[in-house]
Amino acid sequence: MNRMPAKLALANPKVRIGIMVLVIIVAIAAVGPYTTGYGPLDYTGDIGAPPSREHPLGTNTFGYDVYAQVVYGLRGSLAIGLLGGVIATLIGVAVGLASGYLGGLADEMLMMITNIFLVIPTLALLIIIAAYIEQRGIGVESLIIGLTAWPWTARAVRANTLSLRSREFVYVAKLSGLGGARILVSEIMPNMLSYIIMVFILQFGGAILYAVGLDFLGLGPTDSISLGVILQQAVLWNAIQLGMWWWAIPPGLLIAVLLTALYLVNTGLDEVLNPRLRR
């Protein structure tokens, strides 16, 4: 059972393609910065130059090398996705498990908080928070995204816990004297690991998308670069109208490809893990 799903998952074409694309993108982020001599904010001397041997993706209005910006920006975006996704998943899983297993008053309270967070218009909240913080780095951005994205995960994990905690093997564990925390961690959680992985992938993609949205509104990191920041600047300085497609299209395309790959992995995994969707 343990090793089987991994094999099954890779046998699914959607998962395979998605993972392949993801590996390529991660490789670009990892290796890319070493393939260019420029930093993302280095003045190159060329202004608004089209792609050439020297500048594979041209330069922008400020004379920055777009290729360097994209590979560094990709790192930033992936970091936000990873950090924000991890934070949101951790909080969501912890709240969901606790609330589903404890039940009673604790459940009511936790779900009340979750529901409040759920109905707050997240983007508006993000904008307000982001606007109040003057020095914004990638860490802060992923933190505020993670802190607002967990509620639906908590609800889903709670529902899962509720159905698992009345399974007989949980009673069996109780009879053997296992405590609540141990039952949660060693009996219930392993049985929804696949689900938690899927949740994380969704949160990862969601965090990237939210970050792009914030960046695009000019509320992104102030001291570093991400794909969204490049896009924002490109739009702000009329890159498309001026014919500088190499400034706007590569980062936008990269975001689209990245999210599509994540989506493919997610639906593919869903097909594998949910037997009813299996063909």
Partner: protein, 365 residues
């Protein structure tokens, strides 16, 4: 055969609150309860199997769960469950939590907490109906069987492996090495149920509740599993509460049978007495419903001596709870006022054979 009772259930009541809607709350309607178990008293002796028989929803499973304390304290509406643990566990409880010790070496199951409860848990186990749900699908057989030992800090890795292997041999899963690394889904239903039994036995319990342990198994492997249980009871002198809805099966495994209806025991007695000479109208109907193995007799159409549907356990009828379905009630007009007014208690009609029915009331001289 009477020895010392390992389990004493005294007037146990388990009520579950019915969920109320906001409208009910606002209208101040009274909280309703499902009377899952409603005043049950029995004892199980060392080395004895007592069967709880009854139709689904009559409270058999709830009784079993209450005994091993799987029911939340707040749902115990009355009565108590006394268990007799072994000497060392009793000493331990006396030291840690003297207020949970009842008279004569018994502990009150629902007063125990923390460490004291953990100690008693070692000696009480339960086997569940569905061997596909009672084993964690993520664990190997070794992990499943080792877990209780780890929780109770018994032995080191090697000693635990030895204990686990021995238990697997007891339930006739041999050779153990072949089963230890497997996952539950790689075993058949019968093998799974035997793993579940092994898990229950690994701590050497004195008290075992078995909730329809063979009803999900193929008929061909039932006998095997039952044999294992009977052997264990005799060898380890356990007290077993065996739950089933099958009277024929009950006669095969049990010393005594208790018949339950809507949360109450309506008849209690030796297995053979009950099968051959049922007293309560409900038991008579149940026995009447056992399929007839003799082909000659099969052609005779038997009239089932019961009518209607099971009454709701929320709104119990006044008087005898079996009255709405009772054929004897219709046939015996002289006891009818009694049946309507008052709930009968267990009446000893023959030595050791009790029935809760006004038919057997000792006529006052």
């Amino acid at each position: 055969m009477k020895g010392e009772a390992l389990i004493r259930v005294e007037d146990l009541k388990v009520w579950f609150p019915v969920r109320r809607s906001i409208v009910d709350l606002l209208a101040r309607r009274p909280q309703l309860y499902v009377h899952a178990v409603d005043g049950v008293t029995f004892e199980i002796y060392r080395g004895e199997t007592l069967c709880l028989v009854g139709e689904s929803g009559c409270g058999k499973t709830t009784t079993a769960r209450a005994i091993v304390r799987l029911i939340d304290k707040e749902n115990i509406a009355g009565g108590r469950i006394l268990l007799k643990p072994s000497e060392d566990v009793l000493e331990e409880v006396k030291k840690i939590q003297p207020d949970a010790v009842a008279e004569e070496g018994y502990v009150d199951m629902y007063k125990l907490k923390g460490k004291a409860l953990l100690g008693v848990r070692r000696e009480t186990q339960m086997i569940f109906q569905d061997p596909f749900a009672s084993l964690n699908p993520r664990f190997r057989i070794l992990d499943i069987l080792e877990e209780p030992l780890i929780v109770h800090k018994i032995g080191d890795k090697e000693e635990r492996l030895e204990i686990v292997s021995k238990v697997l041999e007891t339930v006739k899963l041999t050779p153990p090495e072949e089963f230890l690394p497997r996952f539950p889904h790689q075993l058949s239903g019968g093998q799974r149920q035997r793993v579940a039994i092994a898990r229950a036995l690994v701590l050497n319990p004195k008290i075992l509740a078995a909730d329809e342990p063979v009803s999900m198994l193929d008929v061909s492997i039932r006998a095997e599993v039952l044999e294992v249980l009977n052997e264990l009871r005799d060898k380890m002198k356990m007290a077993i509460l065996f739950i089933t809805h099958d009277l024929a099966l009950a006669r095969y495994v049990c010393d005594r049978i208790a018949v339950m209806y809507l949360g109450k025991i309506v008849e209690l007695g030796g297995a053979d007495d009950i099968i051959q000479n049922p007293l309560h109208p409900y038991t008579q109907a149940l026995i009447n419903a056992i399929p007839e193995p003799e082909p000659e007799n099969r052609k005779k159409i038997r009239k089932l001596r019961i009518k209607g549907e099971v009454t709701s356990a929320v709104n119990l009828p006044k008087g005898c709870r079996f009255r709405p379905r009772c054929v004897a009630y219709d046939e015996n007009p002289h006891i009818q006022p009694r049946c309507e007014a008052e709930e009968p208690g267990l009446i000893e009609e023959r030595p050791g054979h009790y029935a809760a029915c006004w038919l057997y009331e000792k006529r006052s001289p």
